[in-house]
Amino acid sequence: MTHVLTHDELAALIKGRAGIAVDPLDLGRPGATFEEFGVDSLALLGIVGELENTYATPITPGAEMSKTPQDFLDAVNASATTGA
């Protein structure tokens, strides 16, 4: 996966997969956690699945356990450059 996931795209995925509207700017706020938006690991698991299907690239196992949007983007985008 050579695509780099952005806050905007993550917000759209959260809306689509978890039904939760989140402002991308809030996702990017330093110290933001998934818990404050009500995004749990099942929601992230669905997002990981969609990214893997869309880009046909496996994502580092455990990305769905990320506590913060930044950790999640780091895990996903690291998978993008290393191919997991």
Partner: protein, 413 residues
């Protein structure tokens, strides 16, 4: 219930209805008392080629307006109905989730088949595209316990929670389970159930029921107790209630709408309708005994009314077995003839109608049916004004469960 010490009495303080003939108890009662039939062709996507033509669909329900997006994406339609009905019941009871200790309020639902529509979509993803295309919410959305779990999470109810999977009559068993939960110490239970069986996979599952009516005329497809009875039609929807410990309800000044006075359940085997006579009679007798209710105190019967001659006859005979001569005099009604049978939701809708009937002093009629083949005073055509203090609600499931519930009119605080 009354076999418990008087201060453990269970009362109804809130009613929430999502029914084919109305969303909300007011609209539901208005249609029910008029005897309006809302049976019609099934219009859901993918259902047009099915031999099952007529059912009771819920209309006028906007899931997105009723339930937050985060709960909608992880749940099936049956849970959407249950969550919305729970909100209506809580609003009616004026019970705020934070009013009691979170551990004082439990949730109990009955479920007949779980989330078939959601499950079908994910199974199509599985076999159409592969396992990686199955979403994680499939793990919870189809499951019988989904509505209990989601109502508990969404409302913050951390008291005893359960799901009753005991066939269609499980709707009444759920109310009894909630009453036992209250007898053991809970202040309140959000209880009921709703079903959503009108989707292609769910409908295929029902096609094997010999009791299903495949008639295509909504006016004649479901005619319980009539000489022309030829099966039942399914429906979706259901009802949720707030049941409370009477003392807890009075303490907070709640309006007591009815009392759960007695319940009993029996099992007589799938489609053994002649034998359901004995099972249903036993359930009625035990429920009346628990309610300390003499047979002639029953003021109205909300019948199971399957619409299969052998089953209708068994129900009429069961009533005669227990109520004696009173069976031919007591008004018997089956409002579900105008809405269809929402499986576990059906007896819960009847329980809601029974409470409303007692409050309004009015027996609603049996839509579409003009006469009965049995020795019953079946209320047809127009409803009747009557003083109603005790209602008997009956339910049987296709798999052989029988249940009876005795409700008493609420007494002023």
């Amino acid at each position: 219930m009354t076999s418990d010490p008087p201060d453990r009495r269970t009362v109804v303080t809130g009613i929430g209805v999502i029914a084919p003939n109305g969303v909300g108890a007011d609209d539901f009662w208005k249609a029910t008392r008029e005897g309006a039939s809302v049976l019609g062709p099934i219009t859901r996507e993918g259902c047009g080629q099915m031999p099952l033509r007529v059912a009771g669909q819920v209309g006028g329900f906007d899931a997105e307006a009723a339930v937050e997006g985060r709960y909608l994406v992880q749940t099936d339609r049956f849970t959407h109905y249950a969550m919305a009905a729970a909100d209506l019941a809580l609003e009616d009871a004026r019970l705020r989730p934070d009013e009691n200790s979170p551990f004082a309020t439990g949730v109990v639902t009955a479920a007949g088949s779980g989330g078939g529509e959601f499950g079908q979509r994910e199974l199509q993803n599985l076999w159409g595209q592969g396992p990686r295309f199955v979403g994680p919410y499939q793990s919870i959305a189809w499951f019988y316990a989904a509505s209990t779990g989601q109502i508990s999470i969404r409302g913050g109810f951390k008291g005893p929670c359960a799901v009753v999977a005991s066939d269609e009559a499980g709707g009444l068993d759920a109310l009894a389970h909630a009453a036992r939960t209250i007898a053991r110490g809970a202040d309140a239970v959000v209880v009921g159930g709703a079903e959503a069986p009108l989707a292609p996979y769910s409908m295929v599952c029902q096609l094997g029921y010999p009791e299903l009516s495949l008639g295509d005329d909504p006016a004649t497809a479901y005619l319980p107790f009539s000489p022309e009875a030829n099966g039942f039609v399914p429906a979706e929807g259901g009802a949720m209630f707030v049941l409370e410990h009477e003392r807890a309800a009075r303490r907070r000044g709640a309006r007591i709408r009815a009392e759960l006075a007695g319940h009993a359940a029996t099992f007589t085997g799938a489609s053994r309708w002649a034998e359901s006579r004995e099972g249903l009679a036993h359930a009625i007798r035990a429920a009346l005994e628990q309610a300390s209710c003499a047979p002639d105190e029953v003021d109205v019967v909300f019948a199971d009314a399957l619409g299969v001659p052998e089953a209708d006859r068994a129900e009429a005979l069961a009533l005669a077995d227990v109520l004696g001569e009173h069976a031919a005099r007591v008004p018997v009604t089956a409002p579900k003839a105008g809405t269809g049978r929402a499986y576990c939701g059906a007896p819960l809708l009847d329980a809601a109608a029974a409470v409303l009937a007692m409050e309004q002093g009015f027996v609603p009629p049996t839509p579409n049916v003009t006469g009965t083949a049995y020795d019953l005073d079946l209320v047809c055509g127009y409803g009747r004004t009557a003083e109603l203090r005790t209602a008997l609600v009956l339910s049987r499931g296709l798999m052989g469960s029988n249940a009876a519930l005795v409700l008493r009119a609420g007494r002023p605080s």
